[in-house]
Amino acid sequence: MKRNFGLSLLLVLCLGLLGGLGMVHAGEGVKGSAKADKLDACVAPTAFMRRNHFELIKHQRHITVHEGIRKTDHSLAGCVDCHVRKDAQGSHVPVNTPGEFCAGCHQFTGTTLDCFTCHATKPTGN
């Protein structure tokens, strides 16, 4: 019962993601221009990331701030760096723009993203 529900949720999420990625408007990210688009999987298997990425980020933020650990697969900056797309002119499109990577799922599931009130939405090379 639980597994069926889980599978159908996953299916729904996949469809949503595909649907989101399918739309490319002028001036927005070119499909396939992100580093992530060229990789098979994220820092962990995709299904795991879909369900648990926020736990990883939440755990990591404490570790980075309080313990100073920066060498990690789970940094938010790493996510942005990999998942940000470039537009037709070659400049980065903010990763939380509607139609970009994060919004793909977050808009569909209706969960608020608070990260980018403070964190950079494009890699600033710093």
């Binding site: 570790i63 100073g68 650990i69």
Partner: protein, 256 residues
């Protein structure tokens, strides 16, 4: 599901894994050794109190009218990316924009002698700002850096009331652009972090120290007797600002 244990593939897989582990270990080992000697790369293990960061300001070297340290800090920490919100008054914006470091010019009441010095978070050992924070967002890291965990900060500004040096800033407006290394957002409090983004990525200096052409700012590890800052502190008599509060600050000043 049980796996038969006499398949040839298992043996090959084991050999491959052992070989891969050996190669990886050989590749990593020198890096691990180097890591323990000097942080030349992103920090991979937690900070400890083996180190205490501190700073000595030689006020005789601080040039009158110079603001190089302030500009450098603004640039390093993304403060120069902020602009006055549309409709805000210039005067009010000057009082509301974040400032992690500022220069102060003093005159001795008796002798008239003028001193200039930069003022920033003093990174106290017993910070009043840490004591008063209701959520514990304002904290002192093991290596002595006093900073704000902006994930937990609720923006009550009690730490700003408590700071004897007026070192903290509250972000009064929506932030449009931030640096990846220095996130910043409306409604939280922040202050000088001794360039923690450099500390955690193998850097050894702070932006203000690098910018000061007069050599007035010396930064380093107070627990290392051979560091430049420890030697300078041993050589030049120096004081804490507001020493009567007994906060054991990490930043000391000469000739004040």
């Amino acid at each position: 599901m049980s796996q038969p244990t006499d398949q040839p593939t298992n043996k090959h897989r084991r050999e491959f894994l052992a070989g891969a582990a050996a190669v990886t270990a050989t590749a990593i080992a020198p890096g691990v050794f180097l890591q323990s000697v000097a942080d030349a790369a992103p920090r991979a293990s937690a900070v400890t109190d083996d180190v205490r960061y501190g700073m000595l300001i030689d006020t005789t070297k601080c040039a009158d009218g110079c603001n190089d340290c302030v500009s450098a800090c603004d640039k390093e920490n993304g403060i120069d990316l902020l602009s006055k919100p549309e409709g805000a008054s210039e005067e009010l914006w000057e009082m509301q924009r974040p400032r992690w470091i500022r220069t102060v010019k003093l005159k001795n009441n008796l002798t008239g002698r003028v001193t200039s010095l930069p003022m920033m978070c003093q990174h106290c050992e017993h910070p009043p700002c840490v004591d008063v924070c209701p959520t514990g967002a304002s904290f002192r890291r093991a290596d002595g850096i006093v900073m704000v965990d902006r994930h937990t900060c609720i923006g009550c500004r009690y730490c700003m009331m408590a700071c004897p040096y007026n070192a903290r800033s509250f972000i009064h407006e929506n932030i449009q652009t931030t640096l990846t290394a220095v996130p910043r957002g409306k409604g939280c409090v922040e202050s000088c972090t001794f360039c923690v983004q450099r500390r955690d990525n193998g850097g050894t200096t702070t932006a203000c120290q690098d910018a000061c052409t007069q050599g007035a700012i010396v930064f380093g590890d107070l627990k290392d007797p051979d560091s430049a800052v420890s030697q300078a502190m041993a050589k030049y008599p120096n004081v804490q600002i507001r020493a009567d509060l007994k906060l054991n600050t990490g930043v000391r000043y000469t000739d004040v």
